[in-house]
C-alpha cells in the first residue's frame, strides 16, 4: 500500500478527512517525541524546571488523544470505511492509546528529573539513562516515520530494536542494585533512577506496539505476540 492508495477516493472530502486524521496522529506523535526528548534532557542535565514543565505539558497530549478519538468515531459513523481505510482507523485508535501512554511515561520521567535534580548527582551524570533514552527516543521517532511513510521495513526494524532496549534496561537495573547494596544511603536516589529506566523501557514497548499497528495497517496481518522471527519471514512487500 502506497501513500497514494490512501488518497484514491471518489469523495474528496473523505480523502481530506483521512489525511487530516493522519496528520493529527503524527502531530500528536511529534508532541510526544518532543516531550520525551525534553524529559531526557531534564534528567541528564539535572534541570528541575524543565522536568516540571514536561510534566505540566502532558495535558496537551491527552487533549489530542481525546480529539483524535472523537474524529475516528465520527469517520466510522459517517463514512463507514472498509478495507484499508478501516484498518487505518483501527490502527489509529490503537496507536493514539500507546502514544498517550508514552506521554504519561515522559511526564513521569519529568517528575523524576525534578526530584533527582535536588539530590546529589553521580559523576557520570546518568550516562546510562542518556544512552537508553537516546535509544528509545530513536525508536519512537522511527515508529512515527514508519507510520507516516507506511514503511513496513522500518517498522520491523523498530520491533527488532526493542530487544536491545530490554537488555539495556536489565543492565541498568543490575547496576542500580549494585549501587544500593554498596551504599544504602543512595537507595532513595537510585530508586528514582530505576523508575526512570523502567519508564524508558515501557516507552520502547509502546513504540514497538505502534510499529505492529503499522504492519497491520499496511499488510493487514497481525504480528502481535508471534515473535519477530516468524513475522519477518513472510516477505514484506
Amino acid at each position: 500500500m502506497e501513500a497514494s492508495d490512501l488518497t484514491g477516493h471518489i469523495s474528496k472530502r473523505f480523502n481530506k478527512d483521512i489525511e487530516d486524521l493522519r496528520s493529527m496522529v503524527l502531530a500528536m506523535g511529534g508532541l510526544v517525541e518532543s516531550q520525551l526528548l525534553r524529559a531526557i534532557t531534564a534528567i541528564v542535565t539535572g534541570d528541575s524546571e524543565l522536568g516540571l514543565k514536561v510534566a505540566n505539558d502532558d495535558y496537551k497530549v491527552n487533549d489530542l488523544e481525546v480529539s483524535i478519538d472523537e474524529e475516528c468515531g465520527r469517520i466510522l459513523a459517517m463514512r463507514a470505511p472498509a478495507a484499508s481505510d478501516l484498518r487505518l482507523i483501527v490502527a489509529i485508535i490503537k496507536t493514539i492509546t500507546d502514544l498517550e501512554r508514552i506521554g504519561d511515561e515522559a511526564e513521569k520521567i519529568g517528575f523524576l528529573a525534578s526530584r533527582l535534580a535536588a539530590m546529589d548527582r553521580p559523576p557520570d551524570s546518568y550516562r546510562e539513562l542518556k544512552t537508553l533514552g537516546t535509544h528509545v527516543s530513536h525508536m519512537v521517532r522511527d515508529a512515527m516515520n514508519a507510520f507516516a511513510r507506511l514503511d513496513v521495513d522500518e517498522a520491523f526494524e523498530v520491533v527488532r530494536e526493542d530487544e536491545g532496549v530490554d537488555e539495556e534496561y536489565e543492565t541498568i537495573q543490575r547496576q542500580c542494585i549494585t549501587f544500593m547494596m554498596e551504599d544504602p544511603r543512595s537507595i532513595k536516589r537510585v530508586m528514582n533512577v530505576t523508575w526512570a529506566a523502567r519508564s524508558l523501557e515501557r516507552i520502547g514497548d509502546h513504540a514497538k506496539n505502534i510499529c505492529e499497528y503499522v504492519i497491520y495497517m499496511v499488510q493487514g496481518r497481525d504480528v502481535r505476540h508471534t515473535g519477530i522471527s516468524d513475522a519477518s519471514e513472510i516477505p514484506s512487500d
Binding site: L31, S34, E49, K53, R149
Partner: protein, 423 residues
C-alpha cells in the same frame, strides 16, 4: 494543381467529354491528397519521415515548417533540460535545506541538503505532508501560522544534539519554501558565551567577598588614620557596586539560558506592588509612589522574577524623578491581556535612545548615571524576564515630562481570579 486540372479538362475536351475529364482529374487529385494526408499522419505518429514523400506545393511548405518547429522544440527542450539540471545541481550545492511545499503543505521537491538535514526521502516523501515527517510542535505551529517573519529552532530529526533553524517563505500562488539551516554551532557558541559570563561572575565573586569583608572591617574600626577614611570608604562603596554588577550579570546569564518561564506560581500583582512600594529602600527626598490597582488579576509565572522587574523599573523611575514628581504603579487587565505600568514625571528620555535602552550597559548619560548607582543591566534584566513570560516591554517617553514603561502580558499568562484566591 490547376495545371493538372487543366490537363484533365483538355484530355476530356479532346474526347468530347470535358466535364468527365475534369471530374476524373479532380478525383485523382483528391485521392493523391488524401494519400498524402494519411502518410503524413502515419509519419507523425511513428515519428519516421523516411517513407513520406514530400511532394510539391503546399505539402513542401507544411513539411518544412513542421520540420523547423519540431527541431526548434527539440533544441528548446534540450536547453530546458540542461537548465533544469543546472538549477537542480545548484540547489543541491546549497548548504541550506530547501523544501518546496504546495498549498496543502505537501512536499513537491527538496534539495540534497534537506535530505541530509531533515531525513527527507526525495521520491518516497513526494506528496507527503511536511508536518508528517518533521513533527516538532514548534515547526507545525510555524507552518500553520501565517507569520512568515519568524523562525523556529528544532532539534534535528537525524543527529542527536544538533539543531535546525526553520523558516517558511511564501512564493507564487499558495506555494511555500521551507528553509532549514544547521545552527548547532551557533547554539553551542552562545551557550559557551553564557556559561563563560556565568562562570566568570561566579569566580570573581569569591575574591571580591574577601576584599569587601576586609574593607568593611577597616572602615568599621574606629582607629583608622584620618587621611585613610575617605579612600577606604570609597573602596568599600566601589566593591559593593562591583558585587552588585556581578550579581546582576549572573542573574542575566541565567535568564538568558532559560526558556519560557513556568506557570507554577500565581502572582498577586497588586500585593506585590504594595509590598515593593513599602519595602523599597529609598532616600528620604524621593518622589512619591502611588499604586493604582485597577484589577485583581494575577500573573502565572515566577514571582521572584516579576518582583525584580518591578524593583528595577521603580529604581530607574526614582533615579530620574525629582522629589516634587510622582511615580505611578498601575495594574490593569482586559480580555486581551494585562498591563503593568510604571509611569514617572521625571526628566524623560530622548526618542533616539529608546531603542537602545534594553542593551546591556547602555546608559543615556554615561557621566551622570554612574555617579547615581546605575549599572545599565536593570532594563536588560527586565526585558529578559518579560520575554520569558511571553510579555512585551513598551517604552513611551517625552523629554521633560516623564516616561512610561508598560509591561504587556498576554491573556494566557493572566488569571482573572477572585481576590480571595491568594490571602
Amino acid at each position: 494543381m490547376l495545371l493538372f486540372l487543366a490537363a484533365g479538362a483538355l484530355i476530356g475536351w479532346f474526347y468530347g467529354q470535358l466535364l468527365w475529364g475534369l471530374l476524373a482529374a479532380a478525383l485523382l487529385a483528391l485521392a493523391w491528397q488524401v494519400r498524402q494526408l494519411l502518410s503524413f499522419d502515419r509519419a507523425l505518429r511513428t515519428d519516421n519521415f523516411d517513407d513520406f514523400r514530400i511532394g510539391e506545393g503546399i505539402w513542401e511548405q507544411i513539411y518544412s515548417k513542421f520540420r523547423f518547429e519540431r527541431d526548434r522544440g527539440l533544441r528548446q527542450k534540450a536547453v530546458n533540460r540542461q537548465l533544469l539540471r543546472e538549477i537542480r545541481n545548484s540547489t543541491d550545492a546549497m548548504p541550506d535545506g530547501a523544501v518546496v511545499l504546495d498549498a496543502n503543505n505537501e512536499i513537491v521537491a527538496c534539495n540534497r541538503a534537506a535530505k541530509g538535514l531533515a531525513g527527507l526521502k526525495r521520491k518516497k516523501d513526494r506528496g507527503q505532508r511536511i508536518d508528517n515527517i518533521l513533527r516538532d510542535p514548534k515547526l507545525i505551529g510555524l507552518i500553520n501560522s501565517n507569520d512568515h517573519q519568524q523562525s523556529v529552532e528544532i532539534p534535528s530529526p537525524i543527529t542527536d544534539g544538533d539543531w535546525l533553524n526553520c523558516r517558511v517563505v511564501p512564493y507564487g500562488a499558495e506555494q511555500k519554501l521551507l528553509l532549514l539551516r544547521d545552527v548547532t554551532e551557533r547554539i553551542r557558541l552562545s551557550k559557551m558565551r553564557r556559561d563563560f559570563v556565568a562562570n566568570a561572575s561566579h569566580e570573581l565573586r569569591s575574591p571580591l567577598t574577601v576584599i569587601s569583608g576586609y574593607l568593611d572591617a577597616l572602615s568599621d574600626a574606629g582607629d583608622l588614620p584620618a587621611d585613610w577614611v575617605k579612600p577606604v570608604t570609597q573602596m568599600r562603596n566601589q566593591s559593593l557596586r562591583m558585587k552588585h554588577i556581578l550579581t546582576e550579570m549572573l542573574e542575566l546569564s541565567q535568564l538568558e539560558g532559560a526558556g519560557s518561564a513556568s506557570r507554577n506560581e500565581n502572582i498577586d500583582v497588586v500585593q506585590l506592588l504594595n509590598d515593593v512600594r513599602i519595602d523599597f529602600d529609598r532616600p528620604a527626598d524621593a518622589a512619591e509612589i502611588k499604586v493604582n490597582a485597577e484589577s485583581s488579576a494575577t500573573i502565572l509565572g515566577r514571582k521572584a522574577e516579576i518582583e525584580s522587574v518591578v524593583v528595577n523599573l521603580l529604581s530607574n523611575a526614582l533615579r530620574y524623578t525629582p522629589q516634587s514628581g510622582e511615580i505611578n504603579l498601575t495594574w490593569r487587565s482586559s480580555s486581551d491581556g494585562a498591563e503593568l505600568i510604571v509611569k514617572d514625571t521625571g526628566e524623560g528620555i530622548d526618542p533616539e535612545h529608546i531603542p537602545r535602552l534594553t542593551e546591556r550597559f547602555f546608559r543615556v548619560d554615561r557621566g551622570r548615571s554612574r555617579g547615581e548607582g546605575g549599572i545599565g543591566l536593570g532594563l536588560a534584566i527586565v526585558k529578559h524576564v518579560l520575554v520569558r513570560h511571553d510579555a512585551e516591554l513598551e517604552i513611551k517617553s517625552e523629554p521633560g515630562s516623564g516616561s512610561e514603561f508598560r509591561c504587556v502580558f498576554p491573556p494566557d499568562r493572566v488569571k482573572v481570579a477572585t481576590p480571595t484566591a491568594l490571602s
